[in-house]
C-alpha cells in the first residue's frame, strides 16, 4: 500500500537541487496570544492579537505585507464562521491583499507556513503574514471531540464509534504489545511537557503535573487517559515571512526555513501496514533533512506533535531520535528533556501549551524561531542553531516538517 518514492526521484521531480540555490525564506516576526479557554475573546479578537504581535515583532509596516494565509481546521463547525482569509485581512485592516485559509486537519498551521514558504520562494509574494487560529471552546466538549474526529476517516472509523482518542489508543495498545511500552512511558511526555510549559508564559497549563496524577487521571479510551491528551484550546499564532534579500532590511535576527516538506498517508488508520509508525513522518523528515543538507544529529531542538502522549513516543522514533520501539526508553533516559541531547517540545507541546488545532503548526514555528533567536528565556535550549518541527494531521495522514536555522 505504500507508494514511497525514493528521495532521489522526488528531488529530480521537484527540481529541488535547483531550488536550493535560490533565495531562502526568512521568518522575521513571531507572535502568539496566550493559549487557553478564552471565554472573553472570540476568534477575531485573539487572531488579531497574534497577528499584531507578529507584525510589531517584525517591525514591518502593514503596507509592505502583500499576502496572507491562515491555517484553520474547522471554524465552520466550531464557530459558524468560514472564509477566514478575507475575515482576518478585514479585521487587521490590511487592505486588499490576497488572503485565504488552508486546511489539513491538525496540520493546518504547518500547511499555512508551507503555503507562504512556497509563495515567497516562487517570487509571487515578498512579505507575507501567516496565521494559525482556532476557537474550540464555543461548542461543548462532545461537539469539540466530534469535530476533531472528522480528521480521521469519518465514514469508516467515526461512524462505527471510533473516537479520535480511540484511534490513538489503537496505536498505544499496539505499541505496548509490540515493544513493551508501559503505562509509565505513556505518562512521561505529559510530565516533561508540563514541566517545560511552566516556563512558557503563552502556555495554557503552566503548572507541573506529577506522574502518579497522570496515571490516575480518568480514562478516555484505554490505555489513554485525560492527561495523555491535548486539551481543548482557543488560540492563535502568527509569523511574518519574507525572502532572504529583504530579511536583512527588516530584522537583525532573521531565522531561515532550511527545508519545508510534506507527506501523506492513508486517511484511515486501519489501512496502514503498521500503526506503530507513521510513514508520512518518516518520509517527510528524510526529505527535509536531505533538502537542508543536514543529519539528525545536527538538530538541536524539536517540536513534535503530541496530541496524545503516544504520538510523541511514536514521533520520537520516526524522526530518528530513538530506535523503533525505544521512544519510551528515550523519555526514561531524559534525552528529550531541555538539557538533553535532543530536547523535544520545550514549549510544553500540544499537551501543555494547548492545542488550538489550526494554530498548532504555526505555534511550533513560533517556539522554534524564539529558541533560535535565543529569546526563549527560562526554557531556552542553549546555543540552538537548527530546529525541526513535525506537525501531524489526523492520525498521521498528513505530516509537515519544517527545519529552521539561524
Amino acid at each position: 500500500m505504500q507508494l514511497m518514492r525514493s528521495i532521489d526521484e522526488k528531488s529530480k521531480h521537484l527540481g529541488k537541487e535547483v531550488w536550493k540555490m535560490r533565495n531562502r525564506v526568512a521568518i522575521i516576526g513571531v507572535g502568539m496570544c496566550k493559549f487557553g479557554e478564552l471565554w472573553e475573546q472570540n476568534l477575531k479578537d485573539f487572531t488579531l492579537e497574534a497577528g499584531m504581535y507578529a507584525i510589531f515583532d517584525a517591525g514591518v509596516p502593514g503596507s509592505d505585507i502583500d499576502g496572507m494565509v491562515i491555517g484553520n481546521m474547522s471554524a465552520g463547525r466550531f464557530t459558524g464562521q468560514e472564509h477566514l482569509g478575507a475575515f482576518a485581512v478585514d479585521m487587521g485592516g490590511l487592505g486588499d491583499i490576497p488572503a485565504y485559509s488552508v486546511e489539513a486537519a491538525c496540520a493546518s498551521g504547518g500547511a499555512a507556513v508551507r503555503q507562504a514558504y512556497m509563495a515567497i520562494k516562487s517570487g509571487e509574494h515578498k512579505v507575507m503574514l501567516v496565521l494559525g487560529s482556532e476557537k474550540m471552546s464555543d461548542v461543548n466538549q462532545t461537539e469539540a471531540m466530534n469535530t476533531i474526529s472528522v480528521a480521521s476517516d469519518w465514514e469508516w472509523e467515526g461512524m462505527f464509534g471510533a473516537t479520535f482518542p480511540a484511534l490513538y489508543a489503537f496505536m498505544a495498545r499496539r505499541h505496548m504489545y509490540e515493544y513493551g511500552t508501559t503505562e509509565e512511558h505513556l505518562a512521561m511526555p505529559t510530565v516533561k511537557n508540563h514541566a517545560n510549559a511552566a516556563h512558557n508564559p503563552w502556555a495554557q497549563f503552566q503548572s507541573p503535573v506529577p506522574i502518579d496524577v497522570v496515571m490516575k487521571s480518568g480514562l478516555l479510551a484505554d490505555p489513554l487517559r485525560v492527561l495523555h491528551s491535548a486539551p481543548v484550546t482557543d488560540g492563535a499564532a502568527g509569523l511574518v515571512m519574507c525572502s532572504e534579500d529583504l530579511a536583512k532590511k527588516y530584522s537583525d535576527t532573521p531565522v531561515f526555513i532550511e527545508a519545508s516538506d510534506q507527506s501523506s498517508d492513508t486517511l484511515a488508520l486501519h489501512d496502514r501496514k503498521s500503526i506503530t509508525t507513521m510513514n508520512a513522518v518518516v518520509s517527510s523528515t528524510r526529505y527535509a533533512l536531505k533538502e537542508a543538507n543536514l543529519e539528525l544529529k545536527d538538530i538541536n531542538v524539536f517540536e513534535l506533535h503530541d496530541s496524545f502522549s503516544i504520538g510523541e513516543i511514536i514521533l520520537t522514533e520516526d524522526v530518528g531520535i530513538a530506535k523503533k520501539g525505544e521512544g519510551g526508553k528515550a523519555l526514561e533516559e531524559g534525552i528529550t528533556e531541555i538539557g538533553g541531547k535532543f530536547p523535544v517540545n520545550p514549549s510544553g507541546g500540544l499537551k501543555a501549551r494547548g492545542h488550538p488545532v489550526g494554530a498548532t503548526g504555526v505555534a511550533q514555528i513560533v517556539e522554534l524561531a524564539l529558541q533560535l533567536r535565543g529569546d526563549a528565556e527560562k526554557r531556552q535550549v542553549d546555543g540552538a542553531e537548527k530546529a525541526l518541527a513535525v506537525n501531524i494531521g489526523g492520525t498521521g495522514a498528513t505530516s509537515i516538517v519544517h527545519i529552521l536555522g539561524r
Binding site: M1, L3, T142, M145, N146, S149, W154, E155, W156, E157, M159, F160, G161, A162, T163, P165, A166, A169, F170, M171, R173, R174, Y177, E178, G218, L219, L220, A221, D222, P223, L224, A268, L269, H270, D271, S274, I275
Partner: protein, 150 residues
C-alpha cells in the same frame, strides 16, 4: 449536518451490511472499505467486488469511555481494528464479550447489529460488529492462535 442524511448510509449499505469490498485482479490485494482505485496498481488495477468471509483477528483494541452523543447509550464499548483473514483491516465494535477478556490476537466473526442512531429523529444505521468465535464454536477461552511477533 451531512451525516444526518439517509442517503449517506443508504448508498453504502451493500458494504456495511455484507462487508462487501473489492479485490484487485492484477495484484491480488483485498480492500475494505471498497476503493475506487487500487493504490498498488492504479491504472493497471482491475478491481472486482468481493464479499468478505467476516472472520478475523483483533489487531488492536480499546474501550471507549467518552463517546459522541449517538454512542453514549452504548458506553463503555469495545472498539477494535480487526484484521480480516483476507489480509485487510477494518474498524468495528466487539460485542458479546466481557471487556476484560478482549485481547490482541482474539478470533472474531462478523455479526449484524444496530450501529447507531443519527440523533433524535435521525435514521438508525445497521451494519457489522464482531463477536468472539468461541461463543458459537465452544472453543475454550483464549485458545486463539497468538499473533506472530512482527
Amino acid at each position: 449536518m451531512a451525516e444526518q442524511g439517509v442517503a449517506s448510509v443508504w448508498r453504502r449499505i451493500k458494504a456495511i451490511y455484507t462487508i462487501q469490498g473489492n479485490m484487485c485482479k492484477t495484484c491480488g490485494s483485498y480492500y475494505f472499505p471498497p476503493r475506487p482505485v487500487c493504490p498498488e496498481c492504479r491504472r493497471k488495477g482491475k478491481l472486482e467486488l468481493y464479499t468478505f468471509k467476516g472472520l478475523g483477528t483483533i489487531y488492536s483494541y480499546t474501550v471507549v469511555r467518552q463517546a459522541p452523543e449517538d454512542f453514549k447509550r452504548q458506553m463503555p464499548y469495545v472498539i477494535a481494528q480487526v484484521e480480516l483473514d483476507e489480509g485487510t483491516r477494518l474498524t468495528a465494535q466487539i460485542v458479546n464479550v466481557d471487556i476484560e477478556n478482549v485481547e490482541i490476537g482474539m478470533r472474531v466473526r462478523a455479526c449484524f447489529r444496530k450501529i447507531k442512531e443519527f440523533g433524535q429523529g435521525g435514521i438508525i444505521a445497521y451494519g457489522y460488529k464482531f463477536e468472539p468465535t468461541m461463543k458459537v464454536t465452544g472453543h475454550k477461552e483464549k485458545s486463539s492462535p497468538k499473533q506472530k511477533e512482527p
